[in-house]
Amino acid sequence: MAATDVDVFSNEEKRSLSLGGHVGFDSLPDQLVSKSVTQGFCFNILCVGETGIGKSTLMNTLFNTTFENEEASHYQNGVYLRPRTYDLQESNVHLKLTIVDTVGFGDQINKEESYKPIVDYIDTQFENYLQEELKIKRSLFNYHDTRIHICLYFIAPTGHSLKSLDLVTMKKLDSKVNIIPIIAKADTISKSELHKFKIKIMSELVSNGVQIYQFPTDDDAVAEINSSMNAHLPFAVVGSVEEVKVGNKTVRARQYPWGVVQVENESHCDFVKLREMLIRVNMEDLREQTHARHYELYRRCKLEEMGFKDTDPDSQPFSLQETYEAKRKEFLGDLQRKEEEMRQMFVNKVKETEAELKEKERELHDKFEQLKRMHQDEKRKVEEKRKDLEEEINAFNTRKVAAETLSLSQPLKKDKDRKN
């Protein structure tokens, strides 16, 4: 088709047509699915919480496996992030799971800097992706995406409200990552206390403007379950990898002298809800949100910092290439200007130095003249003195000769006198 026809089409209203028979493009989703299955999936979880609050146990419980990890000590100097990548497989679906642990969070006496390593880590992952995107020769389909898709924030079950550290940290993270707050070790809170606790936490989050992840309600298939789950936030979870016999079944549970807390019992805790939401229903949405919202925000801020804009000074839409060209020109222009400046400076300096040298030369010359004159004066004086001296000598000589001739005529007399 001619270029003009295509333009016309895009400006017209799109018409919906009905098909006369089965074409077959309803298999597109299946093609997509089989392609992504062969590619494998990638998911990155960040667990933020105090040492010993149950992060590793919950991960083990969620994924029904034992990820290797050592117990952390309480005496770290600062907060460190420890990412570990695992390859999991269920049916024929491969999952590359990265779990990032915050070691030492909440242990220091002064926790003002605790959130920084976490924010830095998230930004670094975004930066790596951005770099890959901006490369000339890039391989995005092969790229191991390490951007954090979900941050599980573990709240200590005090029963009163959030801790000050929780509030500060979540505020710093809410614009960079999807946050799902969960109440850890929930088997220490009774039902009535839990209800009050959840309300208090949500009201504190809202009143401080912390944006946590909302399960999407625009997709009809999952809208209902998601909206009901949204009301149960934050999830109160209990984790356990130990199996206990209850009745005639063996379930994962915690055995106390007063009863058995079953992990997968919905009336005991919200673990099942969390698993549903996190893994079975919304995993893909979390990845999308990370890419479409948080990463885009980061990218925009970063590029704006570098000086790129979407519109030029005349408010005309600008493409990246044009921006790039403009930037390049600007840069070259800058370079040239700088070169000119330097040259000017050099020329000026040379002139100055020359002038100085000339000045000095003149001074020297003057001095020389002066000295010469002085020298001549002196010479003249000396000459005069010499003349005087010569005259004196001559005069003396003449007198001497005269005296000698006089004394010669009477020398015998004197001798004779003396002999006598």
Binding site: K111, P157, L167, E204
Partner: protein
Amino acid sequence: MTTSARYKSRIFKTEDSEDKQYVGFATLPNQVHRKSVKKGFDFTLMVAGESGLGKSTLVNSLFLTDLYKDRKLLNAEERINQTVEITKHTVDIEEKGVKLKLTIVDTPGFGDAVNNNECWKPITDYIDQQFEQYFRDESGLNRKNILDNRVHCCLYFIPPFGHGLRPVDVEFMKALHEKVNIIPLIAKADCLTPNEIKKLKDRVRDEIERFGIKVYQFPECDSDEDEEFKQMDKELKECTPFAVIGSNTVVEARGQRVRGRLYPWGIVEVENQSHCDFVKLRNMLIRSHMHDLKDVTCDVHYENYRAHCIQEMTSKLAQDNRMDSPIPILPLPTPDAETERLIKMKDEELKRMQEMLEKMQQQMHEKDQ
């Protein structure tokens, strides 16, 4: 029985003479009992730990009252820069004619801010203040009605969510262990299975020893106590730190109404020894060792403070070159410059006269010889 047998075997004594042998000071304990009941007792207990660990609930459970009726809890954003306050609640309770004036010193805000540097300073200052006040009162002229506000015991709550002691716990206990009797407790123990409790207790005991923290030690029981008591005492010592659970509510369990916490999976009874160590703590704190805690506070911590105070005062005075004066130093406020000068002058005069005296003595001695 043995005494009378002894008497019978040695000397024949009649009933009357036995009465004559009995002096009667065996009634002293009864007299002490009567007097102390009349006078009444007082006890000051401090509770410290992060907010949300169940301190108020435990205090209510211990003394079966509700001390914290209208307290206001701060929000998270208010706590970011919170400073530590010291609040006191005093109640008068009575049981079987024995009156107890109980003072609970609370430390809201401890460990709650984001930056907790030296958050224990207000607490140590408070304890020192009480010591200082008692010191002044004791050295005053009228000592009849001294009010003893010294802190006798500090219950420190360790969160059960971690793997042991945290830096803020260690620093707090090290700052206070020489000023007050510290009893560490593991709070909210209903989130730990029996195995986990044992592991945590061992961990905490190790760390206490490793960091050199001197917590309150139960006194050794005398060798002539009966076996049961000794066994109980041994169990008590092996149980520290106590893992406690508190409750403000009464629930129905096994046909009885008990203090407890109701969960979907069971009921935790506060006073059930297999559920937690609350009973042991109560027995230790109130029923057997309350007086010992007071004694240790008076004899050890207060004396340390007093000695330290006096030493500082004398070192300040010694800096002015005072020779060892024969008069014991009174805890007076440091004298002003004028009086100091006079004292110095008089001292020097005294010294000179002493020297002269010695010389004269020596002369006399030589004369004699």
